[in-house]
Symmetry: C2
């Protein structure tokens, strides 16, 4: 697609109705103008997806690309305990993509935006020579002082994770390799976990209201996220391999492969965090009410020489950002 009339294109993607009345100026001027709420703080994040790196036409349909590009930013809001409200989209479009495909990308974004009552308020569209690039900025809000940071883990905290891990990597594997005899239901589940992640905004909101906690979303893999929390908090985290929550569908693969995906696959967009045992009880009850599985996988210890330790079959091993320590060679 070449952008002959950006104005007409913008008309097509501009929302017809807005959720938020505190938006003074949306799409159509040099910038958007928002009124902010008293007693709230603004939360802002920005994430990019690139053709050939994060997706190809083989692994994702245009609708999914749009859906996921916004979902991964909403997931950052969830990890802050914030409510997502507005988004801006900058899209670089190569000639190899036609207008229908591009509009379908925006429909995918709109689908998840509707669910979270988010308004598209700006961005830009430019031509490019090679790969499609989508950058999304999301603006949300959280009550003053209630943002959940990754630096707040304390000794005695329980380490928890929502949902199941490794599914997204398993789904990508299925998309990239012909696995013709794979059970149909499991195939569908795993690829949908890769293509349409469900950010855990409701869990983030519950955590933010409970008091001190630390929180990350699982974009780069559990091992990486836990290391970030431990490092930012100056603590050591111990997790137990047998407690890592796995879906039934992933169990079609061998154990080695499963745990590699669960620890380092990433893109599950679940939440991982730490919270005091008393608050964990309450969190678990509230998550059950919301229908979100939440699992205790470990505990926070005073700082030792390593940030993250994984216990498996009684043995303790260092878990660094890229996985088990002995996996690290040849990285």
């Amino acid at each position: 697609m070449s952008i002959k009339d950006e104005f007409q294109f913008i008309q097509k993607i501009s929302p017809k109705e807005l959720f938020h009345t505190n938006l003074r100026v949306g799409i159509g001027d040099d910038a958007a103008v928002l009124q902010t709420e008293e007693n709230y703080e603004q939360v802002v994040c920005m994430d990019t997806m690139i053709e050939g790196i994060h997706f190809t036409k083989q692994t994702m349909r245009p609708f999914d690309i749009g859906y996921k590009s916004l979902a991964i930013n909403i997931s950052d809001m969830a990890a802050m305990g914030a409510i997502p409200k507005f988004y801006l989209v900058s899209i670089a479009i190569p000639t190899s993509w036609n207008e229908t495909e591009i509009l379908t990308i925006y429909e995918g974004m709109d689908a998840i935006a509707q669910r979270y009552k988010m308004d598209l308020i700006g961005g830009d569209t430019v031509s490019t020579k090679n790969d499609l690039v989508i950058s999304v900025t999301v603006i949300g809000e959280v009550e003053k002082g209630k943002a959940v940071l990754r630096s707040q883990a304390k000794p005695g905290d329980i380490v928890f994770v929502t949902g199941t891990l490794g599914d997204s990597a398993a789904g990508l594997h299925l998309l990239l390799h012909k696995c013709s005899d794979f059970p149909h239901h499991d195939y569908k589940f795993l690829i949908s976990r890769h293509q349409r992640p469900s950010p855990r905004v409701n869990v983030g909101r519950i955590v933010s209201q409970l008091g001190r906690a630390s929180l990350n979303d699982v974009s780069d893999g559990l091992a990486s996220e836990l290391n970030e929390i431990a490092e930012a908090s100056g603590m050591t985290i111990v997790i137990h391999k047998k407690f890592i929550p796995l879906s039934q569908s992933i169990k079609n693969f061998s154990d080695d492969v499963i745990y590699n995906w669960a620890l380092t696959g990433g893109e599950d967009y679940e939440l991982v965090g730490t919270i005091s045992p008393i608050h964990f009880k309450e969190l678990k009850k509230k998550c059950e009410k919301e229908g979100v599985p939440i699992t205790e996988i470990g505990e926070v210890h005073p700082p030792q020489s390593d940030f993250v330790i994984i216990e498996r079959d009684g043995r303790h091993e260092v878990l660094n950002k890229n996985g088990y320590n002995h996996f690290k060679k040849g990285d």
Copy 2:
């Protein structure tokens, strides 16, 4: 450059000191958290620059690429009458760029950020296969109700423009073509207008305090910006060719070429707007104090059948987004 350790890279680009104490969380968590000021509204914009489209290694050095990628977003703030405060950067890095070049891009951004006291608060870095892509989001603020919109032109308003027009296109021409006998001083001036645009935040601020006005920044060319103002305001704008401000340096080219650049070249990042004659007097005085040239180039009329008319040598012609009407064929 391949991003082996994003964490280390982020450490290198993270600001050591912050200008704004209302930033609660900056780089290093899932999102940034800002406290907003009472009586202010937030202004947000997002713009992207792509290798091979907006720049090449031939036309821009890494420092310039960074400088300009932030400058064009600051220019959007200027066009809203807002004060730029924070920025987020999402950069997609191909292996053909080394770390020094990438860090120099951030230095270029930092140079203009320092000038406007802006803090880098987030974004992301990803690998890509082909072209370097930089998306920048800028967040600023403006007093409640004072944002300057493009829809506010009224009959009788004076149409004004800051600085001179066409220089950026002339600079790009010089960068792309060998013009060995071009006067050195003029060469330097014109390419610096292309590589390091000066957003007119001070003029935007003056306009926002004066009362009703309309305002755009010249990113796509005077013809396009005037059409946007006229269309958004439902008015007709008449400008006079002989009043279009030109630099001495551009006068090395022929008249036809000059006016084509001035009207449609774009990327000058000057401000164009409309304001009542009384307020224009005050605006002009204040701009003179700031050392910013400002020129009256036309006036706003009640709506006629065309949005923008250009008068040259007594004849009136329609000026559409792409230039003179008879230029449109073969677009």
